[in-house]
């Protein structure tokens, strides 16, 4: 990205002042080198978002931002319904509420030494992953509606996991205001047999070792110890969420002219929050969030069962569950006044700072855990929401590394089988169904996640708490 048009505010913050149709500035968080790696399309897309009606304070690109659909991935934007604010299906993305959840094992690295192959095989066998994989759960119409209303709470009530899990999930596991009637028959049809499945692409279930702690006190509060194992999942709302995205993208694009919201990119299509379409999308999208929360809850239950066979006395407690493709109604302080805003986070994680009322009691003093997934074979991070995060980007932080190379280029650059051998020599077991898929997800196809989280910390979005190194990865 050409930085000549940007004003440098600090080592990790850059501003594009309002120009043309922009109503607010565009703010970019990241080091010079991360920003230089970004496509020029990112600047164009953030400027487009800054031009939407009702946008408050600024449109943001976080350090992992890359070229998305309408909104950049790694983007944040908040809209005021009282000022003609809008909601955008493209601003949430196709994989509604895609996110990461991390489970604590309390086990040291050595406890699986010599059993890695066996554990990898058991996880790969039990977790439905990849294209076309079905779970063991098949929902009828009334179960589907109950799931869309109840999210992870429905999953726990249906026997997947424990009530204590719900305290460690955003929205206590159930997004209010979801309406199954706003979700199309096609979306429900796509989701019917996919509960408890991982999906494909960059989704995974991974056993990781905590290799470095940056904030001892916060790590202790989160239950993280150096040398211990954790398990992280990355997945979302599956075909149901994708279909909601497709349905409303189409409807919003078609209605753009009627709303007087014609945009330079059709994917910026949005609807006023006050409109029937905007409200219907909100209710459908919230149902999509519940689908993702229920899906991760069911997968958690599967993983606990596998682990229970290896370590019968060990209970895997949930550290936290974060979503990174959402639009949420939140109260934020703007010019010292509390405002009710609709915050779009596309490829961005909510990052509540210490003292926020929505935090579980035991995290209140430390801020929200932010789970940042790496790519296959690279490290992941756990961060904590910073006090300044609200002022910086409406309490938001990064979600991952972000691609730096297209899938086609990656498939031409690497050979899947060789890559698997190389990772195995480094002590990382990958279980994947397709060699080409492995090549497309090669670690080198992604930006350096360590640079991304350092920049997030430098920008005051979050504090680094722990680094996690992969040991066993079941790829979607």
């Amino acid at each position: 990205m050409d930085l000549a048009r940007l004003q440098k505010l600090s080592e990790t913050a850059w501003e594009l002042p309002p120009q043309g149709t922009m109503r607010v500035p565009a703010l970019f968080y990241g080091s010079r080198s991360l920003l230089e790696q970004m496509d020029d399309k990112v600047a164009e897309q953030v400027a487009n978002v800054a031009s939407l009606p009702g946008i408050v304070r600024a449109a943001y690109a976080l350090p992992d931002a890359h070229w998305g659909y309408g909104f950049p991935i790694g983007g944040v934007a908040a809209f005021d319904p009282e000022q003609g604010g809008v909601i955008s299906a493209g601003g949430v993305g196709f994989d509604i509420s895609c996110g990461v959840r991390t489970l604590l094992t309390g086990l040291p690295r050595g406890s699986i030494t010599g059993r890695e192959e066996e554990l990898a095989a058991a996880l790969a066998r039990e977790i439905p992953a990849g294209v076309g994989a079905c779970g063991k759960i098949h929902l009828d119409d009334s179960q589907m509606d109950a799931m869309l209303r109840g999210g992870a709470r429905w999953a726990v009530e249906s026997g997947f996991g424990e009530p204590e899990d719900l305290d460690r999930i955003e929205e206590r596991g159930c997004m209010n205001g979801a309406d199954p009637a706003a979700v199309s028959r096609e979306a429900k049809r796509r989701g019917r047999d996919e509960m408890g499945t991982l999906g494909s692409g960059n989704h995974y279930a991974e056993i990781q070792e905590v290799t470095e702690l940056y904030q001892q006190e916060i790590a202790r509060a989160y239950g993280l110890e150096s040398g211990n194992l954790v398990i992280s999942l990355h997945c979302g709302s599956r075909g149901l969420g994708h279909q909601i995205g497709t349905d409303f993208l189409r409807e919003m694009a078609a209605a753009a002219e009627a709303f007087g919201l014609l945009q330079p990119e059709r994917e910026l299509a949005s609807a006023p929050l006050s409109s029937e379409l905007g409200q219907r999308y909100l209710r459908a999208m919230r149902a999509g969030i519940n689908c993702a929360l229920a899906n991760r809850q069911i997968l958690t239950d599967l993983i606990r069962k596998v682990f229970g066979r290896f370590f019968p006395d060990r209970h895997l407690a949930l550290l936290y569950d974060v979503s990174h493709n959402t639009c949420k109604e939140e109260i934020h302080s703007v010019e010292a006044k509390p405002l009710r805003l609709f915050v779009h986070r596309k490829g961005a994680t909510r990052a509540l700072g210490p003292g926020h009322p929505d935090l579980p009691d035991d995290f209140a003093a430390w801020g929200q855990p932010i789970l940042v997934g790496g790519s296959m074979g690279t490290c992941s991070y756990i961060l904590a929401g910073a006090q300044e995060s609200e002022a910086r980007a409406f309490s938001s932080a990064v979600h991952g590394a972000g691609r730096r190379m297209s899938r086609n280029q990656a498939a031409r650059t690497w050979e899947g089988k060789e890559l698997l051998g190389e990772l195995e020599r480094r002590g990382i077991l990958i279980r994947a169904r397709s060699h080409r898929g492995v090549a497309e997800e090669a670690p080198g196809a992604y930006k350096d996640v360590s640079a991304v989280v350092e920049a997030a910390e430098g920008a005051g979005l979050a504090h680094r708490v722990a680094r996690l190194e992969p040991l066993i990865c079941v790829k979607g």
């Binding site: 196709f94 294209v131 076309g132 796509r190 075909g239 993208l249 990119e265 297209s406 899938r407 898929g437």
Partner: protein, 149 residues
């Protein structure tokens, strides 16, 4: 419009992928809009697996209605994605008829076999990014779009 045999692509009709940083661009080229629509559908399958591995065993009817050629293209690709996901099938040959604002088609394929097809990634949805239907300087029809994976 059921046919007994799967359709065979015209000789100059072809498909290709183009780069997008996070996802995949797909393109179909042919002497008519119908051929371009059929070829871009093969390009969509090629995101998931080698289309040559997919036997065109049985036809699935697909129809959509939309106000413009590009909207029809968007709906066509999403309809194939829906059929792939819900029938757990892959398709490798397509016959397409375009009548004003309506598309009538058959997608020929077979049930997904993870061992044989080794599917790489699932397509989540067609997007409006780079969505275009146009004639290139050689006079051929080109249909293209970026697919979210």
């Amino acid at each position: 419009m059921a046919t007994a045999e799967p359709p065979h692509a015209a000789s100059r009709a072809r498909w290709e992928h183009f780069a997008h940083i996070a996802d995949v661009g797909i393109r179909g080229i042919g002497s008519s809009r119908e051929e371009a629509f059929a070829q871009i559908a093969v390009a969509l399958t090629a995101v998931i697996t080698d289309p040559q591995r997919v036997t065109p065993q049985e036809p699935v009817p697909i129809s959509c209605t939309a106000p413009s050629g590009e909207s029809l293209l968007f709906d066509w690709l999403n309809a194939i994605i829906f059929e792939m996901a819900t029938r757990r099938m892959l398709f490798s040959r397509f016959s397409v008829q375009l009548l004003d604002h309506r598309l009538e088609a058959e997608a020929w394929g077979e049930p997904l076999d993870p061992e044989r097809h080794e599917p790489v990634v699932e397509a989540k949805g067609a997007t409006y990014t780079e969505l275009r239907l146009f004639r290139n300087p050689a006079g051929e029809w080109v249909a293209q779009c970026v697919v979210d994976v």
